[in-house]
C-alpha cells in the first residue's frame, strides 16, 4: 500500500483509539462489564433534564444591601451632627442612595461640609434643589458598584456554603451571567427542592438582645403609647410570636421593646448543633457556642442581667425571650417547635452565615427521575432509529461507497461522544436531538462529494481523478454549509440556557467532527479503495 496512505490510516486509528479510551477507559481501566457501564456513566455528563434534578434561578435584592448601607450612614451622620453641634432641621433618607439634610444652620454649614468631606468620603454632597440651607448627599457610583459586587460575592459564598452543608451531590452554584444580580443553582437528583429552597432563602441573621421592657404589647402603637409616645433612647420595637399559645392555634403577633444594640450576633458563633430538646420532649433545639471574644462580653452581660429577659431575634423576628437564670459564658440554645429537620436547617444556616440581602426566586424547574429516565430512553431510541434509516439508505443508494459513508458517519459519532466526554460537556435532551441532526446533516457532506464523483465519472474521468475532483470541488461547499449552521449554533449558545446550550454544543462539535470525517477519513478510504482497484475496474458508487 502507498506509504502515505498507511500513515494516514495509522493517524486515524490513533484518533479512534483515543476516542474509545476517552469514553470507556476512564477513570479506571475497565476489567468488567459493570466497570464499563460505570465508566460510560461517569464520562458522559447528563443534564438535569436527563438525570432529574432541580434548577433554580435566584435574584439577590442588592438594593436592600445598598439601602442598609445608606441607613447606617444616616445613623452615623445624625450622631456626628449632634456631637459636632451642627444644628439642622431634619435628616431623612430619600431613597437607597440619597440622604437629605434640611435647614442646616448657615453658621454651621462650613463645619457641615467639612464633616461630610472628611468622615463621609463615600458620599458627595450638593445643595438640595428647592431647599434653602438643605443638602442632598449622594452615594458615589463607584461605592454603589462596589457594594453590588460585594453583596453578590458574599451571597454566592453563603449560598454555596449552605448548599454544600446539605450534602447534595455535585450541586452547581454560579452567577447566571445574564443579569448582574442573578444566581443559578442546580441540584442534580433533587426531586423536591423545597428544603433546599428554604435553606437558601433563610436570612440567617441572629441577634441576642436584652429585653428593655418586660411587657409585651399587641401592637406597635400600644408599645409606643406605653412609653408616652416616644421610645426610650437606644431601644427599638421588634415583633415576634407570643409564647405559650395553645397547640393548634395560630400564634399571635406581639411586640417587644428591645435594646437596639445586640450583645451577640450570628457572627460571634463558633459552632451550632442540634440536640433533642430538654424542655419540650419530642422536639429539637439548636445549641450554639460563642467565640472567646464574644464570650468575654456575654459572661458579664448575663451576670449583670440575671432575672431579666433576653430576646433571641432571628431575621428581625423575636423567636423566644427566655429569662436569664444565671451567668452564661459561651453557650446558649434556641428552642421552641423545631422538628429535627428544621433544627438542623437552622443550625446549618447559622454556621454558614447570614445573607447580606434577601433572595427572590425567579425560576424553578424540577425534572423528576422518571421523566429523566423516559427522556433518555426515547432519545436513544430515536437516535438509533435515525442512524439505521440513514445507513440502510446510504448502502442501497451508493453501494460500496455507501459503506464508506457509513464508516465515516459512525466515526463522526464516536468522535462527537468522545469530545464531549473529554471536554466534560453536558448532554441534554435537545443535545440528543443535536446528535440526530448531526447524523442527518452530516450525511449531506458525503452526498455532496459522492454526487460530484458520479458526475465526474459520467463525464468520463478515471476513478482516481474523479475522486480527486469530487473532493476538491465539494470542499468549499462543505465548509460553507457547515459555517452557516455553526454560526446559528453559536448564537444559540450565547443567548440560550441549559438544555438549549447543550443542543448548540452537541451540534457544533458534531458538525466539526463531520468536516474531519467526511473530508479526511472518507477521502482516505476512497484513495485506498481506488488504489486497490485495477485501472479498468468500476468504482462502486
Amino acid at each position: 500500500m502507498n506509504p502515505q496512505l498507511k500513515w494516514k490510516f495509522v493517524f486515524i486509528l490513533i484518533v479512534v483509539l483515543i476516542c474509545i479510551y476517552g469514553i470507556l477507559g476512564l477513570p479506571q481501566f475497565p476489567t468488567s462489564l459493570a466497570q464499563l457501564n460505570q465508566n460510560i456513566a461517569d464520562r458522559i455528563k447528563l443534564g438535569l433534564d436527563l438525570k432529574g434534578g432541580s434548577h433554580l434561578i435566584l435574584q439577590v435584592q442588592v438594593d436592600e444591601a445598598i439601602g442598609f448601607h445608606c441607613d447606617q450612614a444616616l445613623d452615623q451622620l445624625t450622631k456626628q451632627l449632634h456631637e459636632k453641634n451642627i444644628p439642622f432641621g431634619e435628616i431623612r433618607r430619600v431613597d437607597d442612595t440619597h440622604i437629605l439634610v434640611r435647614d442646616v444652620d448657615p453658621a454651621g454649614s462650613g463645619n457641615f461640609r467639612d464633616l461630610v468631606t472628611s468622615q463621609f468620603s463615600e458620599w458627595s454632597y450638593a445643595p438640595a434643589a428647592g431647599e434653602t440651607n438643605g443638602y442632598l448627599l449622594t452615594m458615589k457610583p463607584s461605592v454603589v458598584a462596589d457594594l453590588r459586587t460585594q453583596t453578590m460575592d458574599q451571597s454566592l459564598e453563603t449560598i454555596t456554603r449552605r448548599i454544600n452543608a446539605l450534602g447534595l451531590t455535585e450541586p452547581t452554584i454560579a452567577f447566571t451571567g445574564r443579569n448582574d444580580n442573578e444566581i443559578l443553582v442546580q441540584l442534580p437528583g433533587e426531586g423536591d427542592p423545597t428544603r433546599a429552597k428554604s435553606v437558601i432563602q433563610a436570612g440567617g441573621q441572629l441577634e441576642l438582645a436584652r429585653v428593655a421592657d418586660e411587657q409585651t404589647y399587641p401592637s406597635e402603637i400600644a408599645a409606643l403609647s406605653a412609653h408616652g409616645g416616644v421610645l426610650p433612647p437606644g431601644t427599638i420595637i421588634v415583633s415576634g410570636k407570643a409564647e405559650g399559645t395553645a397547640p393548634g392555634q395560630p400564634p399571635q403577633q406581639v411586640y417587644y421593646v428591645l435594646d437596639r444594640l445586640p450583645i451577640v450576633t450570628g457572627q460571634d458563633l463558633r459552632s451550632a448543633t442540634t440536640s433533642p430538646s430538654a424542655n419540650y420532649p419530642g422536639q429539637y433545639q439548636v445549641d450554639f457556642k460563642l467565640s472567646t471574644a464574644a464570650a468575654a462580653r456575654f459572661g458579664p452581660f448575663t451576670e449583670a442581667n440575671v432575672g431579666r429577659r433576653m430576646a433571641i431575634v432571628l431575621d428581625h423576628q423575636v423567636y423566644t425571650a427566655p429569662v436569664i437564670n444565671g451567668r452564661i459564658e459561651d453557650s446558649g440554645l434556641i428552642e421552641g417547635s423545631f422538628t429535627q429537620d428544621s433544627a438542623q436547617d437552622l443550625a446549618l444556616v447559622l454556621r454558614a452565615g447570614a445573607l447580606p440581602a434577601s433572595i427572590k426566586y425567579l425560576e424553578e424547574r424540577t425534572v423528576g427521575p422518571s421523566l429523566g429516565a423516559d427522556s433518555i430512553r426515547e432519545g436513544v431510541r430515536a437516535s438509533i432509529g435515525s442512524l439505521i434509516v440513514v445507513m440502510i439508505f446510504l448502502v442501497i443508494y451508493y453501494h460500496q461507497s455507501g459503506v464508506n459513508a457509513v464508516v465515516a458517519l459512525i466515526l463522526n459519532l464516536v468522535i462527537l461522544v468522545a469530545f464531549m466526554a473529554y471536554a466534560g460537556a453536558v448532554l441534554t435532551l435537545p443535545g440528543i436531538a443535536g446528535v440526530i441532526l448531526t447524523i442527518g446533516m452530516g450525511v449531506d457532506s458525503n452526498v455532496l462529494v459522492f454526487e460530484r464523483i458520479r458526475e465526474e465519472l459520467r463525464n468520463g474521468k478515471a476513478n482516481a481523478s474523479a475522486v480527486d475532483q469530487g473532493f476538491d470541488r465539494a470542499f468549499l461547499t462543505i465548509i460553507d454549509t457547515h459555517v452557516t449552521t455553526i454560526v446559528s449554533a453559536i448564537f444559540l449558545f450565547l443567548f440560550g440556557t441549559g438544555p438549549v446550550r447543550g443542543f448548540a454544543v452537541t451540534l457544533v462539535i458534531g458538525l466539526l467532527a463531520n468536516v474531519f470525517t467526511s473530508i479526511y477519513v472518507s477521502r482516505l478510504i476512497f484513495d485506498w479503495h481506488v488504489s486497490r482497484l485495477g485501472r479498468e475496474a468500476e468504482l462502486s458508487i
Partner: protein, 406 residues
C-alpha cells in the same frame, strides 16, 4: 441506482407559481395566528406554573378541576397528555396556572396550592406513613438502614444505599414513577420478602407522582422573549454578512429573505397545529435558519461556477441549470434530514415534540425556499437592473477560485 438524472426543468419559468404557493401558505398560517389571537407561547415566554403529574390509574380530571376552582385558582387548566408513543403515559396530566400577579408571594405558591388540591382530592393518608412514590433515595436508604430487614447489623455499609437506588430505579424506569403494589418490586435485585414487608409496614403508596415542575416568574418570560428575538436577528445578520462576502450582496439579501419566509411559514404551521413556542422551539428555528442557508448556498455555489463556464447565457438559464445539476444532492440531503427528524418526531418523546415538528416543517420549507424564493429573487433583481446576462463575480469570488484550483 440514481434518481434525478438528466432533469431539465425550467425552474425560473415557474417562479410565479412558487411565489403564489408561498403566499398561500403564509396566508393560511397567519390567518390561523390571527384567529388564535397571536402565537401560543410556552411557559418559558409567558411565565406561570406547570405541574406534570402521573397517576396510578385513570386520573379524575373533573374532580381535580373542581378542587382547583374551590381552592381559588380560577386561572388553572388541567389536561391529559397521554402520548401514543409511550404506553406508560396514559394516565399523565398537566396542571397549569397562569401567571399570578407581580407581587411578592413566593414563586412556588402556585405549585404548593396544586399539590394541596391533589392531596385533598385523594385524601391524606392518616396512617402517617411516608409516600413511597415520592420518596428520595437518601430517605429510603435511611429508613432501610434503620429497620435493617436484611439483618446486616453494623456491616451494612453501602448496601442499603445501593438497594434504595435499585428500588427507586425500578420505580422510575420500569414503573414510570408510580408503584401501585409493593409486590411490583419483587424482582429487584437484592429484595427479599423481609425487605418487602418492611416497606409495606413503613410506607403508603400515593396515587400520583410529580413528573416535572416548571415555574417561570413574570419578568423572566419577557426577558427570554427579547433574547430569543435578538438571537434570531443577530444570526440572520451574521449570515447576511457571510454570504454577501462570499458571493454578492444581492445573493445575501435573497438568502435572508428566503430564510425569513421559512421562519414565518413554520410559525404559521405551529399555530395551525396548536403547538407551543418554547425555548427549544427557538433552538429549532435557529437551526432551520442555518439549514435553509445551506441549501441556498449549494445552489448559489453552482450558479457561481456555471457563471464562469457559461458567460453568454441569460442568468435565468444558468440558474435553471444549476438547480437541475444540484437537484440530486438537494433532494437526497433534504430527504435524509427529513427522515431523521421524522424519526425524532415519531419516536423522540413528548418533550421534544414541538422541536421536532419545527424541524420537520422547516426542512421541507427550507429546501423549497432555496429554489422557490431565493433563486427567483436573484434572477428578478438582475433583470430589473437591466442585465439579462450574467453579472460579474465578486473579488472574493476570484480569491476562492484561486485556492480551489490548487
Amino acid at each position: 441506482m440514481e434518481f434525478f438524472r438528466g432533469v431539465n426543468a425550467d425552474w425560473m419559468g415557474k417562479a410565479k407559481y412558487f411565489v403564489a404557493l408561498s403566499l398561500t401558505l403564509l396566508a393560511i398560517g397567519w390567518f390561523s395566528i390571527l384567529r388564535n389571537h397571536g402565537l401560543r407561547y410556552g411557559i418559558d415566554f409567558r411565565g406561570g406554573t406547570l405541574v406534570y403529574v402521573r397517576f396510578a390509574g385513570p386520573p379524575p380530571i373533573d374532580q381535580i378541576r373542581k378542587g382547583l376552582q374551590t381552592a381559588g385558582l380560577p386561572n388553572s387548566s388541567i389536561q391529559s397528555i397521554s402520548d401514543i408513543s409511550n404506553a406508560n403515559s396514559r394516565n399523565d396530566v398537566v396542571i397549569g396556572l397562569e401567571q399570578q400577579g407581580q407581587g411578592d408571594e413566593s414563586l412556588d405558591a402556585g405549585k404548593q396550592a396544586i399539590l394541596d388540591v391533589l392531596h385533598k382530592t385523594f385524601g391524606t393518608d392518616t396512617s402517617g406513613k411516608q409516600d413511597f412514590n415520592s420518596i428520595t433515595s437518601s430517605a429510603l436508604a435511611a429508613y432501610l438502614t434503620q429497620k435493617d430487614p436484611l439483618l446486616l447489623g453494623t456491616s451494612a455499609g453501602d448496601r442499603y444505599n445501593q438497594l434504595a437506588q435499585k428500588l427507586l430505579s425500578a420505580r422510575d424506569q420500569d414503573r414510570g414513577g408510580v408503584v401501585t403494589g409493593f409486590d411490583q418490586l419483587k424482582s429487584v435485585e437484592g429484595v427479599t420478602p423481609a425487605v418487602l414487608s418492611s416497606l409495606t409496614s413503613g410506607f403508603s403508596l400515593g396515587n400520583f407522582a410529580i413528573r416535572n415542575v416548571e415555574i417561570v416568574g413574570p419578568k423572566v418570560g419577557a426577558q427570554l422573549r427579547k433574547q430569543a428575538i435578538l438571537a434570531t436577528l443577530y444570526a440572520l445578520a451574521g449570515m447576511l454578512v457571510y454570504i454577501a462576502f462570499r458571493f454578492e450582496w444581492v445573493y445575501g439579501a435573497a438568502a435572508v429573505i428566503a430564510v425569513f419566509h421559512d421562519v414565518l411559514i413554520t410559525l404559521g404551521f405551529f399555530s395551525l397545529f396548536h403547538y407551543e413556542i418554547s425555548l427549544t422551539v427557538i433552538a429549532a428555528l435557529l437551526t432551520l435558519v442555518g439549514y435553509s442557508m445551506n441549501d441556498t448556498i449549494v445552489i448559489f455555489d453552482r450558479v457561481r461556477e456555471n457563471l464562469r463556464l457559461m458567460r453568454r447565457e441569460p442568468l435565468a438559464e444558468i440558474v435553471n441549470k444549476s438547480i437541475n445539476q444540484t437537484l440530486s444532492r438537494t433532494i437526497l440531503t433534504s430527504g435524509l434530514t427529513f427522515l431523521t427528524v421524522s424519526v425524532l418526531f415519531l419516536m423522540g418523546g413528548e418533550v421534544l415534540r414541538a422541536f421536532s415538528f419545527a424541524m420537520v416543517v422547516g426542512v421541507v420549507v427550507g429546501t423549497y425556499s432555496s429554489f422557490g424564493i431565493a433563486a427567483p429573487i436573484v434572477v428578478v433583481w438582475n433583470k430589473y437592473r437591466g442585465q439579462g446576462a450574467a453579472p460579474a463575480g465578486s473579488a472574493a469570488d476570484k480569491r476562492v477560485v484561486a485556492t480551489a484550483r490548487r
